[in-house]
């Protein structure tokens, strides 16, 4: 079942403002709902209260003494490795839950959310042991009461039944997700305080807090009685433990939110739950925001180790690689394979053309399914398409103007006036800025109206910006002054030519030539000369656009 997560963006999302944020205090509220004792033990010294429900399949291997033996061995194993970290009770075949993978798979969080359970326990492990051919298949899931999170199922098949207890212990270790509190002072470092972090298990690999461990963050909203009212995961936010001292470590936040862990909260606890890679790949689904929730197919998704988007050309990912560029399918989905190192979050970039829709940290393999809600970029893309078409026509018009202007100048210097007149006529007949402005206005109005109808402020801003940029291009490159200057320049050249002809005729007839414009200082035309000297009949480079 996909884990639904509200849409997030690198910028603070207005929708999150609807949530009741309470300033986080320096002290941490007790995790359990019971009144704290006066001399409270620090969290890092508190062991986990763990209940393990073993469900054996109905098989001779696990009936009677053999089952009890397995349970006993299992308990001993746990004791040997976990030590004081866990206060464990193991029950076999308790309740009506059946053994097997399917019943575990069908479990839902609401099946396990019981206040009594939360009061007594920190962790509940549901394990299943069943025969699998000549061997044993054991499966398990973890229920964390602090965050009300049901972990993904893990399955182990072992050929040798004598290893059952040991494998159960190993399975538990892989299912175990430590819990920590988050302390953040204003402007100060963030600290992770893990439950049982200061307790030293017999096996070091069972330590609750280790450097480099990755955590997800949750808000626990308390009522006036300090009972947990609601638990909500902080989306796209991960904490990485730094150097550990006595169960406390510095935490590094990697988040897609601008202010993931706000410090001003009341009756809100921030809790961290350790993560481990649970599946081989994650199916990420991109949809537009409610109410449409339209799948975003054809969108580019890039998974990279770096937080900065790359400019490398889009290439399909190499086989087995955890990173790469992908394109969502028709359902807006893309399958992201887990990286080798599941403790380090990667960065997910979602692009639609040149527009970056999202930049979030992501750990593939953490969950089987993830959902990412994004703004509907269709309108922006449509407006961009219209503007691009208009831009193409503008490019042609400007280039054509430049060509005609250059040809007119060349012909004027060669005194080929009929050609000059024709080129000037073509220039005058070409599209003017007003035409482009009118077309642009149509695009702008339609785009803005549509954005407002969708209440999409971001798209509205983008549309406005796109159209403003285009308008500037039009005004810069299609200003009529340049045409006027050209006309003046041509007129001047014509008059000079006429005076030259008159002078020549006068000389022939023996009369003194009249003083003409050639004798006067020439007025600067202001027109830009061509930047390159082209071949005879070709226009120069350096068109205005």
């Amino acid at each position: 079942m996909p884990r639904s997560i509200d849409r997030l963006h690198s910028k603070p999302h207005p929708a999150t403002g609807s949530l009741a944020f309470v300033a986080a205090l320096l002290f941490v509220a007790p995790l359990a709902g019971a009144d704290p004792p006066a001399h409270e033990i620090s969290l890092e010294l508190r062991p986990y209260r763990v209940q393990i429900d073993l469900a054996y399949a109905s098989a001779p291997d696990f009936d009677g003494a053999s089952g009890a033996l397995v349970q006993s061995d299992f308990g001993d194993c746990l004791e040997r490795v976990a030590g004081s970290l866990w206060q464990t009770s193991i029950r076999a075949n308790a309740g009506i839950r059946l053994a097997g993978v399917d019943p575990l798979q069908r479990l839902r969080p609401e099946d396990l959310e019981r206040p009594a359970l939360a009061a007594d326990l920190d962790k509940l492990y549901l394990l299943s042991v069943e025969p699998a051919g000549a061997g044993i298949r054991i499966a398990g899931r973890e229920w964390d009461t602090a965050t009300s999170q049901l972990g993904a199922m893990q399955i182990v098949t072992l050929p040798d039944r004598r290893e059952t207890a040991h494998c159960l212990m190993k399975l538990l270790q892989s299912l175990f997700r430590p819990v920590a509190t988050i302390e953040q002072s204003k402007g100060g470092p963030l600290r992770l305080r893990a439950r049982g972090g200061a307790l030293a298990p017999h096996d070091e690999s069972w330590q609750a807090l280790r450097e480099g461990m990755l955590f997800e963050a949750y808000y626990r909203y308390l009522n006036q009685e300090h009972a947990v009212e609601r638990i909500q995961q902080i989306p796209w936010t991960y904490l990485t433990a730094g150097r550990v001292e006595q169960g406390v470590a510095d935490g590094t936040v990697t988040s897609g939110l601008r202010a993931a862990l706000s410090t001003r909260r009341r009756r809100v606890e921030v809790v961290a739950l350790g993560v481990s890679r649970q599946v081989d790949s994650t199916r990420l689904t991109l949809v537009t925001r409610p109410p449409t929730r339209r799948p975003l197919g054809g969108v580019e998704v890039e998974l990279a180790a770096d937080s900065q988007p790359s400019d490398a050309p889009s290439t399909p990912p190499a086989e087995g690689a955890g990173s790469g560029r992908f394109v969502t399918d028709r359902k807006g989905q893309v399958l992201l394979r887990a990286a080798a190192d599941a403790t380090k979050p990667m960065w997910l970039f979602v692009r639609n053309g040149q527009n970056l829709l999202a930049r979030i940290p992501f750990v593939p393999g953490l969950h089987a399914d993830e959902l990412l809600e994004l703004p509907d970029d269709t309108l922006r893309l449509e407006v961009e398409g219209h503007v691009a078409q208009l831009q193409s026509e503008l490019v042609d018009t400007v280039a054509r103007r430049a060509v005609l202007a250059t040809l007119a100048r060349q012909r004027a210097k060669a005194r080929e006036w009929p050609d000059v007149d024709e080129f000037m006529r073509q220039l005058a007949a070409g599209p003017k800025a007003a035409v482009f402005v009118a077309d642009l206005s149509g695009i702008r109005v339609h785009g803005l109206q549509a954005a407002r109808a969708q209440k999409d402020r971001a798209t509205e801003l983008r549309v406005r910006r796109l159209c403003d940029d285009m308008a500037k291009l039009i005004s810069d490159y299609l200003e009529e002054d340049k045409l006027r200057e050209l006309r003046d320049e041509i007129d001047e050249l014509k008059k000079i030519a006429e005076e030259d002809d008159a002078a020549e005729n006068a000389l022939k007839s023996g009369q003194p030539p009249a003083k003409g414009r050639r004798d006067q200082p020439t007025r600067k035309s202001g027109a830009n000369p061509p930047e390159a000297v082209p071949p005879a009949k070709t226009p120069p480079a350096g068109a205005a656009f």
Binding site: V327, R330, N352, Q389, V395, D396, R400, A541
Partner: protein
């Protein structure tokens, strides 16, 4: 102009002295004669003949021995060389009575100069009964005895030579003829021809020219035959026969040459050509023994072939029997026995011969969306899609299916019930298809882990349910606008065809020879003879009377012209594609019918999105403005045809299709603007544009057009070059970087389905295949997948059309109405088909063979 002296003329001045002496002698005698008494005998040393009393010829004295010794005798005088005779100047030889040769400038009149003089003299002679000759008349008459000659050298060259000293005159033309004779003796026909032509130009109808011409033709035929050019030799003999049928040796030589030609032709197994030469001989010499001999041989060979055919037929080898009788028909079609045998065998095993200019590759990439024409034909014959576009009607391509009897949408299109045909008829070359088999094949397309996965199909189809042996229900997530187009893919899994399929082992099955099963025809391995053979996969029942095409042989010709020649000669019966400029030429020929395909072929240039032109819009616009497309279309493809068989286009789909926006006009030809935009593009890119690599298929006109496009782009400063797309070479794909522009010629019947693979250059329908395309195009293609009504489809295609035009994502060049030409013995070809082999299983080839 100074005259060049040569050895032929001897030492300068010597001849003049001799001649002067002769003339002085002549004049002296004449003077003596005039002043002497009429009856007084002459006292000169030489005793010239007494003048006739009536003629009163003067009596000149012969030259002295010393004087005559300076001239050469005729034997010693060398015939002028070829070069000398060609270049001139002309010189006549006067053979004197002393046996010496005097070389003079050409005499007039010629020939028969002396005869002419004598004639003039005779006219002036006093006839009996006429009054006495006057002194003036006499002087005039006597002067005629002296031939004015001009020496070829010396200061004084004008002389008069008494005709009595002239034994003979060899004119310059005669010298040329002698040289011609010598050249022909040496078999130097080229120079002989040149000399003869020069002679003819110099003096038309000179006596002796005509026989020389005859000899020249004959000699040249000998030379040609010796040089291994017997056909040229025959032509020469024929032209000689036309002029002079009685020329010595002509008949024999005819026999020799034709014999050689016959042997050569038959060694190449070209009986038609052998008969052609034989006919030419018969036309000239009907009773020639060579003709009779060869006629007998060919007839005998034909009878033997008929015997072999009969034996093969008795053995049940109908195809081999047909091979023999076809060969017999080529050898001697006039033999009466041939016709009945041929008709019987050709009707039983109908063989269609097709003339093509390309053949399919032996190995092809099944995922490539760029298919050569030959590959398209191969797939039409060897693959059977569930649906195939069959006709074009009211702006839409209509689909037909060989499998389904009907298909009924229910639940507002979310569910479609497909009803399969239980039987296909005897003409069908395909095993029956059951609903279970079809369901299995469709399920393969839904399996994302399989190699036949179709992402588009899987996104739309949500369920399959077999309702009966021939009923299948397909559930759709969203009603497809054109379910037929969605199912227009071929089957490749033999298991889908039920248990009755032969050698069905699951997966891609092969027969006992390892040939993959394919329907309705299977392609035979190449035999290296420039032919591709396809045989009906499932033979028709042996005893059925209603037979259809069993075999297709594609014969490759070097060019369309050669293919047309093959059609006219009867080597092939169908040309699936002919150049537009040749269509009209078939209209007057009753033995053929010409048919236009239902959809035109669109030619366009497609840019690689990751290469330079694909990244620069300014450059793409420059490239399109640089092309004078009307001129290219007219000159390269239409070749002056005025039948409106081609037109410019602005979209990759036909102009007659529903999604074509007629308000979008082609970019005009504007080289100045193109140049300017190209320079702008260089500025944008920050570097000079590297030479563009244009991939183009191996088709003659297409390569010509592409070559001219390269030239047009080079004129605006954008270098470009063609990269070979020969048969067997890799087709362009977006994953490769070795091309920038691809010249494509495609028919797009339904852009809703076909535009995606066309742009992505792959048959894969996964969105990852579009990763190289711009985002706006990607989204539009996905929207096209999801479109649910015609109006939206049309709007979307119009929008795409506008965007293609604005972005110049590709350059649509033109579309051409292609035609095929078929001999009228081929029946059941659909009207206005969309593909060359449409409904091929129902075609019939009536027996026919060429009598030529």
């Amino acid at each position: 102009m100074a005259r060049e002296w040569s050895a032929d003329f001897g030492q300068p001045g010597r001849i003049g002295r001799c001649l002067r002496l002769l003339c002085l002698v002549a004049l002296g005698c004449q003077a003596a004669r005039v002043h002497a008494q009429p009856d007084q005998p002459s006292t000169d040393r030489a005793q010239p003949p007494s003048p006739d009393a009536e003629t009163e010829q003067p009596s000149p004295e012969p030259p002295t021995e010393e004087e005559a010794a300076e001239l050469k005798t005729l034997d010693a005088t060398e015939l002028p060389s070829f070069q000398r005779l060609m270049q001139g100047p002309a010189v006549d030889w006067i053979l004197l009575t002393t046996g010496k040769v005097l070389e003079v400038e050409p005499l007039n009149p010629r020939p028969g100069t002396i005869d002419d003089l004598k004639g003039q003299i005779a006219k002036l002679m006093r006839k009996a009964g006429q009054p006495a000759e006057t002194e003036v008349a006499k002087r005039k008459r006597l002067s005629l005895y002296n031939l004015p000659v001009t020496l070829v050298e010396g200061e004084e060259r004008e002389y008069r030579l008494h005709i009595n000293f002239i034994k003979d005159i060899t004119y310059y033309e005669d010298l040329m003829l002698r040289r011609v004779d010598q050249l022909l003796d040496d078999r130097d026909v080229r120079r002989a021809y040149e000399l003869l032509t020069t002679l003819d130009q110099r003096q038309e109808n000179w006596p002796g020219v005509v026989p020389r011409r005859d000899r020249l033709a004959f000699t040249e035929s000998l030379v040609k035959l010796a040089a291994g050019q017997p056909e040229e030799a025959l032509a020469l003999l024929e032209s000689l026969h036309e002029r002079n049928a009685a020329y010595a040796g002509l008949v024999e030589q005819f026999g020799i040459v034709v014999d050689q030609l016959m042997r050569d032709a038959l060694s190449r197994d070209d009986s038609r050509q052998a008969r052609f030469f034989l006919k030419r001989l018969l036309r000239r010499l009907p009773s020639h023994k060579t003709a009779a001999a060869w006629t007998g041989k060919l007839m005998q060979a034909t009878r033997e072939l008929l015997s072999q055919s009969a034996a093969a037929e008795r053995a049940g080898q109908n195809e081999a029997a047909l091979d023999f009788v076809e060969q017999a028909a080529r050898t001697w079609p006039e033999l009466p026995e041939v016709l009945s045998v041929y008709n019987r065998l050709a009707n039983r095993h109908q063989r269609l011969r097709v003339g093509v200019v390309d053949l399919p590759n032996a190995v092809t990439d099944p995922n490539s969306a760029v298919l050569a024409r030959a590959e398209l034909r191969r797939r039409q014959l060897t693959e059977t899609p569930l649906f195939r576009a069959s006709r074009f009607d009211d702006k839409i391509a209509r689909y037909e299916s060989r499998f389904f009897q009907d298909w009924t949408p229910t639940e507002l299109g979310h569910r479609v019930v497909f009803r399969l045909r239980p039987t296909g008829g005897s003409a069908q070359s395909m095993p029956p298809l059951t609903a279970a088999g079809l369901s299995e094949a469709l399920a393969e397309r839904l399996d994302s882990a399989g190699d036949r996965y179709d992402a588009r199909f899987a996104a739309i189809v949500t369920g399959l349910a077999v309702r009966g042996p021939f009923d299948l229900t397909v559930q759709f997530d969203q009603p497809p606008l054109r379910p037929e187009a969605l199912f227009a893919f071929p089957f490749r899994r033999a298991a889908a065809f039920g248990a009755s399929a032969s050698t069905s082992t699951g997966g891609d099955t092969t027969d006992e020879n390892g040939t993959a099963n394919s329907y309705p025809f299977r392609m035979e391995p190449y035999a290296g003879d420039g032919r591709a053979r396809y045989r009906r996969s499932i033979a028709e029942p042996e005893r059925t009377a209603d037979r259809h095409v069993s075999e297709i042989v594609e014969i490759r010709y070097a060019s369309h012209d050669k293919a047309i020649q093959g059609l006219l000669r009867g080597e092939v019966s169908l040309l699936p594609s002919v150049p537009p400029g040749t269509v009209k030429s078939f209209s007057g020929r009753n033995e053929f019918f010409t048919q236009q395909y239902g959809l035109p072929v669109t030619h366009l240039l497609q840019f690689h999105p990751r290469q330079t032109p694909g990244r620069s819009r300014a450059l793409r616009r420059a490239l399109i403005y640089a092309l004078d497309r009307p001129q290219l279309l007219t000159e390269v493809f239409l070749r002056g045809s005025t039948d409106n068989l081609g037109r410019l286009t602005t979209a990759p789909w036909p102009t007659t299709l529903y999604g074509y926006n007629r308000f979008i006009k082609p970019h005009p030809f504007d080289p100045a603007l193109a140049y300017s935009l190209a320079r702008n593009a260089e500025k944008e890119l920050g570097h000079q544009i590297a030479p563009l690599r244009i991939w183009v298929a191996d088709a003659p006109e297409v390569r010509e057009a592409a070559g001219r496009i390269v030239g047009a782009w080079q004129k605006i400063g954008v270098p470009a070059a063609l990269i070979a797309g020969e048969a067997g070479s890799k087709m362009p794909s977006l994953a490769d970087d070795d091309w920038d522009v691809a010249y494509r010629a495609e028919v797009m019947a339904e852009p809703l389905i076909e535009l995606w693979p066309f742009l992505a250059l792959t048959a894969s329908t996964q969105t990852q295949a579009l990763s190289y395309l711009p985002a706006w195009l990607r989204h539009d293609l996905l929207d096209l997948d999801r479109v649910g009504d015609w109006r939206t489809a049309e709007q979307l295609l119009n929008k795409l059309h506008r965007q293609f035009w604005a972005e110049v994502h590709l350059i649509p060049l033109w579309e051409i109405d292609e035609h095929f030409v078929a001999r009228k013995n081929i029946r059941n070809i659909p009207d206005r088909p969309l593909w060359p082999y449409q409904a091929i299983e129902r075609w019939k080839v009536e027996p026919w063979f060429s009598r030529d």
